[in-house]
Symmetry: C2
Subunit: 388 residues, 2 copies
């Protein structure tokens, strides 16, 4: 009785696990939440100065002032664009919904990284995407043989080249160039999701991949959830000129326009030049927690697991030893009040899966991180002894 | 190269016309905007008291406190439900997108009123709905022969029984009962859109239609755009228990969750009992403008056009004399700085169309209403003389 797509509507494992992590005794490595003390709280004066127009209906594209500010920021990071190409979103998850509507119908081949952002796989999957995964291994980078539209007749390529969720991987400038060349050779749309760019702990990330394209059409998107506050639910996309009109109409059909109060707050923050200072103020704390997790991983796991220190973002991507099942480990850990995300959730159907864990380092304190990883290491040892 | 649904993505005539009406010299009857002086501006103290949790990620279903308050309001209007059945939306347009995703795929028969809310027709149409229209004439009510799932094998029935946009029609209690009985006999989902209920100028509207169903599954939705402020982008749906989980997952895939700042503001307003007083304060002004438009219509048109005084909502639905083309009239009026919505935009494909205009009375002053209608009447006369 429902539309056929509802058979493809999977519950989000993330949210099921997050529900459990509401209990204060749980040490959670499962979510992707910014640290509480990193959240931006607008100055009351800023909110009091809300212009009257904010309360009325607004433009589907978003407030012009905010679109201009976003375009200027994009230009500064090497993605030249006009404000007309900017569409303001209720968070960047909405951009995935809009691009899925634009491009995906049952059976549409979609190139995705393996692993990839879970909620993007769900949104594209809902519309019937047939995933064509290419592996991105944190140690060796993208599997070039799988990247390119032609081999798969793919219509869309979704990727997160900068501090990816979950793998933390960041494409080098040379890898971005190579990927752009491969994608330029096809007919598909390149969709770069870039929510973690500003959370860079060891130097700035290279210019976006889509800025290196010569002829392929593209959509780039960013978010203010990781830099300011998720509760504002504000993100944006920037699109190739040919895609702006249909995406705007899809936005209009989806919810008329984005929240104007949040748009006013974020525009004011950008205009005042406060965003960069806020992010810069948060980086030392995030870097310290990242380094604390790296130290605790080394201390408790030794050589048992494989991982790389992520240069940005919010996650470690940890390869489990052969024989350890990530779902079973997740359940065992939950029973001891430690929440982790099993890697299997981030693999598109059809991708070769291995045993990985995604560990968030931004939310727990260094002491809690150490405590949680000690428990986790003991559980991995237990599983290994049971296998042996 | 796009998904096939993009061929069905029509531009919104409303928004194209609204773009023109930005010019201050234009007298606009085209939009559906609340009056500027009716918009709710939150007390700065309310906004300053924003709890810290608001800035973090939230629940896809919405804030529990707001869901409880919405459920209590629904119970007070005769729709008994639990807070678990409430899903908070980024404006009620999003509810249409979610229900379309839940129910509609290419070829799905969808029962709709003729005329019907334009942006609902667009959203259902995007997903491939095959409309099965039944006429609702402001003078004679619903065409009962067309209402019911069985005859059309329809899976979904979308209706706006209370002060409809565009027709202003309000189903009587007996008509709601009769419609509920007919719809109960089928297998489809009943979707009642109810954004105008609180804008009642001649007494309260009857209990919602879905509250009269015995066995059919249903979705009811309301909005805070018309009672508080559209810029908050906040609405809600209440769903039959069997539909809550899939709708929540669709919401999650669409944008994770709704804006928490707006949710906090609206919950505080509801908790303080301020909403009803705010609406009550606005009603005399709206009623006066409605009566001014009725008087001006009588003054300038005499018996040339047919209309009923709407008992609520924001629109008059005016039947043009035979031979007057509503699109041509719209263009001629725009050339004289008067904006109207041609009725044809509100007819689903397959519906018998007649010459109607939708006239909004909430945005222009009484003097401007009179001035605009005088011009419009002259243009109708001109068209009639050209026909003769």
């Amino acid at each position: 009785m429902f539309a056929e797509r509802i058979t493809r509507l999977t519950p989000s494992l993330v949210r099921e696990i997050l529900a459990v992590t509401q209990r204060p005794e749980v040490i959670s490595f499962a979510g992707g939440l910014p640290a509480e003390d990193a959240l931006f709280r607008p100055d009351p004066a800023l909110i009091q100065g809300i212009p009257d127009g904010v309360w009325q209906y607004g433009q589907s594209e978003g407030e012009w002032r905010l679109r201009e500010l976003v375009a200027a920021r994009a230009a500064a990071m090497g993605l030249a664009c006009s404000a007309e190409q900017v569409l303001i979103l209720n968070g960047s998850q909405q951009g995935i919904d809009l691009v899925a509507k634009l491009m995906v119908e049952p059976g549409t081949p979609v190139l995705v990284e393996a692993p990839a952002y879970l909620a993007a796989l769900q949104a594209f999957g809902l519309f019937g995407a047939e995933f064509q995964p290419f592996t991105v291994d944190p140690a060796t980078g993208p599997d070039w043989s799988g990247l390119g539209f032609a081999a798969h007749r793919a219509r869309l390529c979704y990727l997160t080249p900068t501090f990816q969720n979950p793998s933390g991987y960041c494409y080098s400038a040379a890898e971005r160039d190579r990927a752009a060349t491969l994608l330029d050779a096809g007919q598909g749309v390149v969709f770069e999701d870039d929510p973690y760019r500003d959370l860079a702990y060891d130097g700035a990330a290279p210019t976006p991949l889509v800025a290196r394209l010569d002829r392929a059409r593209w959509v780039y998107q960013g978010s203010f959830s990781k830099t300011l506050a998720p509760g504002l639910r504000l993100g944006y996309l920037i699109a190739h000129p040919e895609l702006v009109v249909p995406l705007t109409r899809l936005k209009q059909a989806a919810d008329l326009h984005s929240n104007r109060l949040s748009q006013h707050i974020v525009a004011s923050v950008l205009e005042a030049g406060v965003l960069d200072a806020h992010v810069a103020g948060n980086l030392p704390g995030y870097r310290a927690r990242r380094d604390a997790m790296a130290a605790s991983l080394a201390r408790h796991f030794g050589d048992t697991v494989r991982w790389a220190v992520p240069a940005g973002g919010l996650f470690f991507w940890v390869k489990l030893p052969q024989g350890v099942d990530s779902m079973a480990l997740m359940r065992a850990a939950l029973a001891e009040d430690v929440a982790v995300m099993p890697g299997v959730a981030f693999y598109p159907t059809g991708a070769q899966q291995e045993g990985w864990l995604r560990l968030n380092f931004s939310h727990a304190s260094a002491a809690r991180i150490d405590e949680g990883l000690a428990k986790l290491a003991a559980l991995v040892d237990l599983q290994l002894r049971q296998v042996a």
